[in-house]
């Protein structure tokens, strides 16, 4: 099982690699638009590469294999040995889906399921230069091709002990290594020989270093080390600096000769080279070293060239003794990962603090004590700062949600055979993490809807004199303490008359009521439950479930949703949500002697009204304000026990509230003022009470119910 690795690191990996994978899906879609963008190709290559590297440490082998194959494909692509096409993208995106699925499994502490062998084979087939592909059968997939290394996943980068032994054996005998190399070059032979070919072994590397750094500078590989240990140290530190400098041209030439001319197996040579090593000793004294080296580093590799004079040198003790030196470790980390649960707790506590502050403010206002006033107003400032600071820690860019869309749109467009260009603006707009997550599903739904219903088929667009390619624009911006999200398309737009007809057909309105609907109200019909204008249901959208869910969801976030549309030009959906869910500005009102909080988002205006001036229209009480008619509701009758039979007062305060395009007036007894409240869920017995969003504690220490305007009207209006 893969989880003997440090759990914390696993969690880190899931978060960080998860981000990379999210980005990958975006980049992949981008790539289809810009198939020759080498920065992008590199970035994608690196994405798979990084995930693979991390997964390797966590022994998530299935993930390693899949990423490895994908990485190889992009290695070929970025080296321009193959071109990006839709088929390739389909395979790669499928691979990404599997990677995502594996991530999900790992998140749930399951062993990831390996990607299907066909997929890996398909990837491996694509990981060959285009010209070679036809010749590559699927079964041969993991084997290395002649020019490009396509090591099989398991063997990748990992020379097993057995292989290493074989390698050592091979190195003993120069001749033995040559055939192995030839075999590796010619065709995909056995794994052992191919490893020996593409991958360098420790010994080879040692030899290479010896060769590069000239003679006498370094200790040999482990087996020769004891000899070196016995020598007295004569070499100064100057040697080290010499040895690390770039090699000279001559040396480089020699290296190339050795690598290529001698069959590319430097260790094989060097094994035989030791007798010659003695030649070089005198030349590599501390002073003379560098200048003489080119001449001296003859064709052979010198693994045993260490001279007595230079052996262990004046050097200090080896690595294990080092840690004692690092007492004064400066801490360079500037960021920490924090569990969101902890942030939620902090936010909650800040919420409580806000309540206490409100209460103190109220008490302070009653007292005459100047010091008290000062302290309270100081507390006010600090609390407000603290609140915004804590909120800032919870902010995430909306990019997190937007990042999903290129893929969603691409897949849908391919599916529906439409040509669609997705534009995104304001991805860096920050909002509360919880909101980012909560907005994700509704936004996906709306975007799917725009693609499916909004944008027309290319032919239809051409006939209408539009470009074949439709555009869906997603944008986000902050407006005060709200975030505005726009989903726009340049598609067919909506026909209000069709919507009216549908509304009547579906029995949502009768003909009269439907005819009276304004165009804006018609557009909002799309959010009514069971309303779909598509006659044919596609598997993308059109069942009429969803849009009403979207509306409910946005409502739950204290958000608002409205639609604008122009027939033939396109539609635009605007979502307005508060920056945070935890703290909400409200208007406190009194009904009888009970406090209620109306979300300030909904409040449009407040005025005093002579109630005798109301009109009855269509059996409903209405008021006219500046030539506009608003239905009037006595919410006290709904919310306060025993208030239904009370006589109407002559004068009352009226609060005009808005939900989308709809505006109504609420008659209230008293207006208390504006107050920031922390939303507390209602107790279990009261949960789901229609019209109530929650409760809060007011500045005077009492409990106030927070009114959920849409659900209140739905239930009582």
């Amino acid at each position: 099982m893969a989880f003997d690795a440090d759990e914390e690191i696993l969690q880190d990996f899931l978060v960080e690699a998860g981000e990379i994978i999210e980005k990958l899906s975006e980049q992949l879609v981008d790539l289809e638009q810009h198939p020759d963008d080498s920065d992008l190709l590199n970035a994608i290559f690196r994405g798979f590469h990084t995930v693979k590297g991390g997964a390797g440490f966590l022994q998530l082998n299935a993930l390693v294999n899949c990423c490895h194959s994908a990485e190889n494909v992009f290695d070929i692509l970025r080296n321009h040995k193959r071109k990006v096409d839709s088929e390739l993208m389909d395979v790669v995106l499928e691979a990404l889906d599997h990677v995502n699925a594996m991530f999900e499994q790992v998140r749930h502490h399951e062993e990831p399921t390996p990607a299907p062998a066909e997929l890996i084979a398909a990837l491996d087939a694509l990981a060959k230069p285009a010209a070679e592909t036809p010749a590559v059968s699927k079964t041969a997939g993991p084997a290395p091709s002649s020019n490009e290394t396509v090591a099989s996943g398991d063997d990748n980068g990992d020379i097993t002990d057995e292989e290493f032994e074989q390698l050592l054996d091979a190195l003993q005998d120069e001749k033995a290594s040559a055939p192995a190399r030839a075999a590796g070059n010619g065709q995909p032979a056995s794994a052992d020989s191919s490893d020996g070919d593409d991958e360098i072994s420790d010994d080879e590397f040692e030899a290479l270093l010896d060769q590069l750094h000239g003679k006498g500078q370094f200790a040999g590989p482990p087996e020769t080390a004891p000899a070196g240990d016995n020598k007295a140290g004569g070499a100064s530190d100057a040697d080290n600096s010499n040895s690390d400098e770039l090699i000279s041209d001559d040396e480089f030439e020699k290296l190339l000769d050795d690598l290529h001319g001698k069959g590319g197996s430097p260790t094989a040579d060097s094994a035989n080279a030791s007798p010659a090593a003695a030649d070089s000793k005198p030349a590599t004294g501390p002073e003379s070293g560098k200048a003489d080296r080119p001449a001296e580093s003859s064709a052979k590799h010198h693994r045993h060239e260490k001279s007595p004079a230079e052996g262990k040198g004046g050097a200090t003790s080896a690595a294990p003794a080092m840690p004692s030196r690092d007492a004064n470790a400066p801490v360079a980390e500037t960021s920490v990962r924090v569990d969101t649960k902890r942030l939620d707790d902090i936010m909650n506590m800040v919420g409580e603090l806000v309540l206490v502050r409100n209460r103190l403010q109220r008490l302070g206002a009653q007292s005459e004590d100047e010091h008290m006033h000062k302290a309270v107003s100081n507390l006010d400032v600090v609390t407000t700062d603290l609140q915004s600071a804590v909120m800032a820690t919870r902010m995430q860019p909306i990019k997190k949600v937007f990042g999903r869309f290129p893929r969603v749109v691409r897949d849908l467009a391919r599916n529906l055979k439409k040509e669609i260009n997705l534009e995104m603006h304001g991805e860096d707009t920050d909002l509360d993490k919880n909101l980012v997550e909560a907005l994700s599903d509704p936004l996906v739904h709306l975007v799917r809807n725009s693609v499916d219903h909004g944008i027309e088929a290319p032919d239809v667009r051409e006939q209408a004199g539009k470009p074949r390619q439709g555009t869906v624009t997603l944008s986000a911006e902050q407006e005060g303490d709200h975030i505005l999200l726009f989903i726009e398309d340049d598609g067919a737009g909506m026909d209000p008359d069709v919507l009216r007809r549908k509304a009547v057909e579906k029995g949502i309105y009768d003909q009269d009521a439907a005819d009276r609907l304004t165009n804006a109200e018609c557009y909002n019909l799309i959010f009514a439950a069971g309303f779909s204008t598509k006659d044919q249901i596609s598997d993308v959208s059109g069942r009429g479930v969803g849009m009403d869910v979207v509306k409910t969801k946005i409502g739950q976030l204290n958000g608002q949703l409205h639609v604008e549309s122009e027939l033939g030009k396109g539609s635009r959906i605007v979502i307005k949500v508060p920056l945070t869910l935890a703290i909400m500005p409200t208007l406190m009102i009194m009904l009888g002697d009970q406090s209620f909080a109306l979300p300030l988002v909904n409040v449009v205006e407040i005025f005093h009204l002579d109630l005798s001036k109301t009109n009855i229209v269509d059996g409903r009480e209405c008021i006219v304000v500046r030539d506009k008619v608003f239905p009037l509701f006595h919410i006290k009758r709904w919310l306060v026990k025993g208030a239904a039979g009370e006589p109407e007062p002559e004068n009352a305060h009226v609060v005009i509230v808005a939900m989308g395009t709809r505006r109504v007036g609420f008659v209230v007894d008293q207006l208390v003022g504006q107050e920031e409240v922390v939303i507390k869920p209602l107790g279990r017995a009261l949960q789901g009470t229609p019209g109530m969003a929650g409760a809060t504690i007011t500045g005077d220490g009492r409990i106030a119910l927070i009114i959920d305007v849409p659900s209140l009207l739905q239930n009582y209006g």
């Binding site: 990996f13 690196r46 590297g53 440490f57 020379i159 593409d198 690390d244 590319g264 030196r325």
Partner: protein
């Protein structure tokens, strides 16, 4: 011994850091690519550099070249972390002056061996 770990993937930095800690090297700093690592190296008196190969910005190989070209850093021992022990890559790294390489994934024991080998050579 003060060690700088360079990798763009913070999880990987943490893994390497933990492995080094297991070996007793607790004085480690992190950088997320060559561009951030280089100024740190120039001002930080590091004794050892562990760098990933494949990074955006400045790759490990470019970092290595920069280090070797710097008068004050050219003797700094460098261990390169790679995904595959591909010969051409390793040869290129060796030519650029790398002191050792280690292939992902590796254990603390492997890392120890690599580090010891490097210091054996230098001394």
């Amino acid at each position: 011994m003060k060690i700088l770990i360079v990798d763009d993937f913070s999880t990987m930095r943490r893994i390497i850091k933990n492995l080094l800690r297991d070996l007793g090297f607790t004085n480690t700093d992190e950088a997320d690519d060559g561009n951030t690592a280089l100024p740190m190296l120039r001002s930080g008196k590091y004794d050892f550099l562990v760098t990933d190969w494949n990074m955006p910005g400045m790759s490990g190989l470019d970092l290595l070249k920069e280090v070797r070209a710097d008068e004050n850093l050219k003797t700094l021992p460098v261990l390169m972390v790679t995904a595959e022990a591909k010969r051409d890559q390793i040869v290129a790294a060796a030519q650029a002056g790398v002191n050792g390489y280690v292939v992902k994934p590796f254990t603390a024991a492997v890392l120890k061996e690599k580090i010891e080998k490097i210091f054996e050579r230098i001394q």
